[in-house]
């Protein structure tokens, strides 16, 4: 893993995401307190941490679904926190997959994957359709084009959501706890699709609780707690030999939920 150099502060030409001193408050509550990190092209970064640590907020600040209170986010060199930035154009290059899938329930699987291609990228109907069929095949859902989201299982819906994002030919994919709403037996299919995507060289930022996935697929793991990045590094370091007490406590809880803490 030579990515270990790419996340220190020296600018690398192929930086996809650059987060500088990002802060975010909701009313009086400061959720993100000074976050800085960069993601290079082809890198897979898994963000882990206890609930309420701000990891989803960080992800949502990257494509400006949340407005940062302070700091900068640059995507491929473009400052998306700048009011003059055409955020819609940037978003069309940044795919996002949500915990609750958020498929358009009034549209078929195919239309879910073509509507943004048609309205945003102005692709022709035939071109959009071909692209959608291609990405649906990549997530293993060929033949389900005419189905409505409600007719699919959660795992299938999430794979459609991934196909919908991939149909835009994104340079970066954001995953916000993509398997947290799934029945356990459906998690594997979604993770398999994500693993394949990572192997194909997609730049990915994944908020997840799947430690096995993070350990296997991530180039770098970012552990967040209380609005700070407490620790980051390759998974064999952060997950296997965490340096910080808080990381250790968190991992112990996640990896062994039955473990009872001595002081309680």
């Amino acid at each position: 893993m030579n990515e270990s150099q790419s996340w220190d502060s020296s600018p690398v030409p192929s930086v996809v995401v650059e987060v500088n001193n990002l802060k975010k408050s909701f009313d009086e509550v400061e959720v993100l307190k000074d976050i800085s990190t960069t993601i290079s092209k082809g890198e897979v970064v898994c963000v882990i941490g206890p609930s309420g640590s701000g990891k989803s907020t960080l992800l949502r600040c990257v494509n400006m679904l949340e407005q940062p209170t302070d700091g900068k986010v640059l995507i491929e060199g473009e400052d998306v926190t700048d009011p003059d930035c055409d955020i819609d154009r940037v978003r069309s290059r940044v795919g996002m997959v949500f915990q609750q899938f958020n498929l358009f329930s009034h549209l078929t699987v195919l239309d879910n994957c073509t509507i943004a291609q048609r309205t945003v990228l102005k692709r022709s109907a035939a071109e959009a359709r071909a692209k959608a069929e291609d990405t649906l095949a990549r997530v293993g859902l060929e033949g389900r084009e005419k189905a409505y989201p409600a007719q699919l299982s959660g795992g299938q819906q999430q794979r459609v959501a991934i196909a919908r994002a991939l149909s835009m030919d994104p340079d970066l994919m954001l995953f916000d706890e993509p398997t947290s709403a799934l029945d356990p037996e459906l998690v594997g299919d979604v993770l398999a699709v994500m693993r394949r995507l990572a192997n194909e060289g997609m730049t990915m930022m994944v908020v997840t609780h799947e430690m096995a996935f993070a350990r296997e697929v991530a180039d770098r793991v970012l552990f967040m707690d209380g609005g700070f990045v407490v620790e980051q590094g390759p998974p064999e370091q952060v997950i296997a030999e965490p340096q910080h007490e808080r990381t250790r406590t968190f991992l112990q809880r996640v990896l062994d939920p039955t473990h009872v803490e001595p002081e309680q």
Binding site: N63, R91, F98, S105, H106, I115, A116, V120, A150, A165
Partner: protein
Amino acid sequence: MSTATTSSTTEAPRRRMSPRKRAQRARWAQYAFLIIVLIVLISVSDPRQILKVFFRGDLVIDTLTQGLGHALLNTIYYTAGAFVLGLTAGTVLALMRLSQVAPYRWLAGIYIELFRGLPAIVVLLGFGLLPLAFPGLEIPFGTYGVVWLALGIVAAAYMAETIRAGIQAVPKGQVEAARSLGMPPGIANRKIVLPQAFRIITPPLTNELILLVKDSSLVYIIGLSAGGYDLTKYGRDLAQTNANLTPLVIAGLCYLVITLPLSFLVRRMESRAQRAR
């Protein structure tokens, strides 16, 4: 229920009736009551007299042949025009109500409160008399225009609130997904939010439509030429000249001819939407 408790206390040695038995007895009592009411009604009423007043054969034929179809069409025209206008204006008002720009919210709020509070008949009268206030003012399409405008304006106020509720019922994640794909707010609204909102509010909107069908009976107030008669005015005129209710009964049945298929249609759309959901 009080009888059950008193009987169980007074007749202590007997076993208490089981709840199921008691429910069964209650059901029998209800059937018996219904039958008694029917018997009483039949014994007091004179079917021949009823038929003569409400359903006289020659008057049925008169009513059907003297322009009922035209009146039915007029009622449909009045309603359809007002509905289209109300739906369009209502959607605009609902979007204004949810606007980021405060004055738009206020304006829409004032409009809705005003026209929701006014009886449709007052608005109709007002529009009928508008040329008095503004000489030379001509509302296009004559009587039709006046009715469409007056009923449409009132309907818009009701529908705006329904549509707003529908828009707010669309999960926030739908907008987020649309925006995350790069859709600008306008397209996200038009392609994602509004289609889902209208699906949600189809039943209450049909209710509005049915109410509008019935409100169209108020048009007599602006003074109609015979060509503009709606069902109620037509039925009432014939009923008065003949001193018989038959024409009004026929007109009333015609309203059901309009509204019952609508109810049926909505139920079908709902069950289809259920499957897609």
